[in-house]
Point group: C2
């Protein structure tokens, strides 16, 4: 794509679509103009002249004048068809739809390669924070150990309110919804699905790993209560919903879990709707990125940065996917978790490798125990409303991972 004016066809004119329009119209020096906007409800009142709008996707997809399709709708299934057909028609695509991207990563890689047309999606992961671009470009030859962080603004807002104002989960959720942070179906946020989709995308750019969302554990924050918050307070910790991916040897483990965060961890200072990401590498040590994870203008501005990158011919190279050492996804990571429960029989105790502490009283019971990620991924008892799980620590030298490492080594030297 040369340095000409890009002609944009936009799908969706909601929170992010309008943010993009706002940001674009106030930014000088970007060579892009909006040609058409495809929306769902033709009768909604709009802030732009009616001539911009259509409800017919082919007005964009079959318009030879349009170079770039910007997909900003809230329906992942419809978005999949739009993005796919745009790529097949050789149009560059920018999307902020983490669910669509995470669920179709392999096919989207294939389509980009087959039709030689780029797909950029910085806005899909942590809004305004340029994490994908940094993982792709800057950390390409560094030895990354882990990427973890607060990838979801709504849940962080809820947890901040529970901690700082003592609000109940339900009240805090309602507030987040009123402020427009939470999705209309809050399960995506509070159940940890949204950060999991983002983690999926991140794992590809950080480690060259392709893994399907359903193979990654996500435990949300919906079962947390003031007892859990108090327990954290006593240890000068905070509970945050953390998406975590880490590399040990060639093994990558990953999960989304409520986690006790220590006072010296920069993530403890990420408040309300902000996001934060910690990147640990062998040589650069720990690096921290923070910023607004969502919202109209911040996300619009990330989308605009992708559009701008297209004017310079930028595309993801997926360099780490092509590296010689192949990484494998592993759920053999041992975790130390805090489990609060009402009914002792509701927990499958045989799942645990060890119980390190236990506390019982009239109205508050918990244990601290070691359990394999694999076990948590297979079980369902932890979904019980009266059970909450919070990660205390990732057990170093997880026996099963060491096992795998040794096996690999044996195979390699054989």
């Amino acid at each position: 794509m040369s340095n000409n004016i890009l002609k944009l066809g936009i799908f969706g004119f909601g929170c992010v679509g309008q943010g993009l329009h706002n940001v674009l119209s106030q930014t000088k020096g970007i060579n892009a103009s909006i040609e058409k906007i495809c929306i769902k409800h033709p009768d909604k009142e709009r802030s732009l002249p009616a001539s911009y709008f259509t409800t017919d996707p082919s007005d964009i997809l079959d318009n030879a004048d349009i170079d770039v399709v910007v997909e900003l709708i809230d329906d992942a299934e419809a978005a999949y068809h739009i993005v796919k057909s745009a790529l097949i028609k050789g149009k560059a695509v920018v999307s902020a739809n983490k669910k669509l991207i995470a669920e179709h990563l392999e096919e989207l890689l294939f389509l980009q390669s087959k039709y030689q047309t780029p797909l950029l999606y910085e806005g899909a992961v942590c809004g305004s924070i340029p994490i994908i671009r940094n993982l792709e470009e800057y950390y390409d030859n560094d030895l990354l150990n882990s990427v973890s962080g607060i990838f979801n603004g709504s849940t962080n807002y809820i947890l901040s309110k529970m901690k700082n104002e003592g609000l109940d989960f339900e009240v805090a959720l309602k507030e987040a919804q009123e402020k427009g942070f939470a999705e209309s179906d809050p399960t995506l946020d509070v159940g940890g699905f949204d950060p999991k989709y983002k983690l999926c995308i991140t794992l590809l750019h950080a480690f060259g790993l392709l893994v399907r969302p359903e193979n990654i554990l996500n435990i949300g924050i919906q079962n947390l209560n003031d007892q859990d918050v108090n327990y954290a307070n006593q240890n000068k910790q905070k509970i945050k919903l953390i998406a975590h991916g880490q590399k040990q040897g060639q093994n990558i483990s990953a999960f989304v879990l409520p986690t006790f965060i220590n006072p010296d961890n920069p993530l403890i200072n990420v408040h309300n709707e902000f996001n934060g990401i910690l990147v640990e590498s062998a040589f650069a040590n720990q690096q921290f990125f923070g910023g607004k994870g969502a919202g109209s203008d911040p996300t619009g501005s990330a989308v605009l940065s992708d559009i701008s990158a297209l004017t310079y011919g930028y595309k993801y190279e997926y360099k780490k996917l092509h590296q010689t050492t192949v990484v494998t996804y592993s759920t053999q990571q041992l975790l130390e978790v805090y489990v609060r429960y009402n009914d002792k029989n509701a927990v499958q105790w045989t799942d645990f490798e060890s119980i390190n502490q236990s506390f019982e009283s009239e109205d508050y019971n918990y244990v601290i125990g070691n359990i394999y990620l694999e076990q948590l991924l297979q079980e369902e008892w932890q979904l019980n409303d009266n059970i909450s799980i919070v990660l205390k620590a990732i057990v170093e030298d997880s026996p099963n991972i060491v096992q795998e490492k040794t096996n690999n080594a044996v195979v390699e030297t054989a």
Copy 2:
């Protein structure tokens, strides 16, 4: 530069040079090999075979096999000649030398353009934090309002120790030197010169502004004492040495000043030798980058990332330098400062626009007053050992800047 193996000629094998070697030798998949290392003292013991080393620059500069010159010496003047002649000979250059780069920015731009060869210097600004790359690539079309932060690890280490352990400045400095954070000539650090050089480079990539270091105010931390630290404590603030650049209309103001940092500012959590940068943009809101600002491996790893970028043909485009709206450097920014003094006559009170508060006692006197940046830049009274200056606030709507804006507007519409 194609995807072949890059042949490196390195100048300097001290802290950063050895870090680079360490990082490079442990990183698979980077297509670069070290051909020759030019050092100063041939008799020093080295960790590599003698055949690597030379003291003759032409062994690198006139070696047609060498594609990339990596300049990592501690002598800015010698470095200038090395970098210049490498560029003239058409070799790509990577440097971590902020003094050299800041002092010769215009000429280095010209040489890169004339000889069509790239110069990269991510390691020169905030060590491992990829700020230049982000400003250059990611924030190119966003409306940046300001870039500010803790750009110097040694001074931040000293200030952290004064605050947390009540150490005196001299004791904390000695500790920083022992830990290897401080330069052998500590004036560069504690006088705020090092962060000023970094700020110079940052202003070019953030705003497209070229300004000479001597035109930027730098007040260091050498005069701060426990009274200043206590004053900050009382307000729940911390003193940090802040490099700051901001845009108002087409005017850019910039300075390096000890600054009271509020508890809600992410920079307050940047401890010891870490660096942190806040980027404020019109739409993406506030973004924060944190990480190790110095040290052997972290800086070596930033240098390696530049080398790796060369293998993909990366160069700085200096896009903002070519934007249509021209920015101007302005020192007409009004600042609210805290001034502690022993002798009332040592301060030039007529420099102030207003005195907002004053406190006198037997052994502690201070005023809070408004003063133009221009005034501080011209005067010398503030260098007096018994005077300390700490920024309280940047006065919004600085009258003289508004004046300039109006003038510009008149000229433009005339």
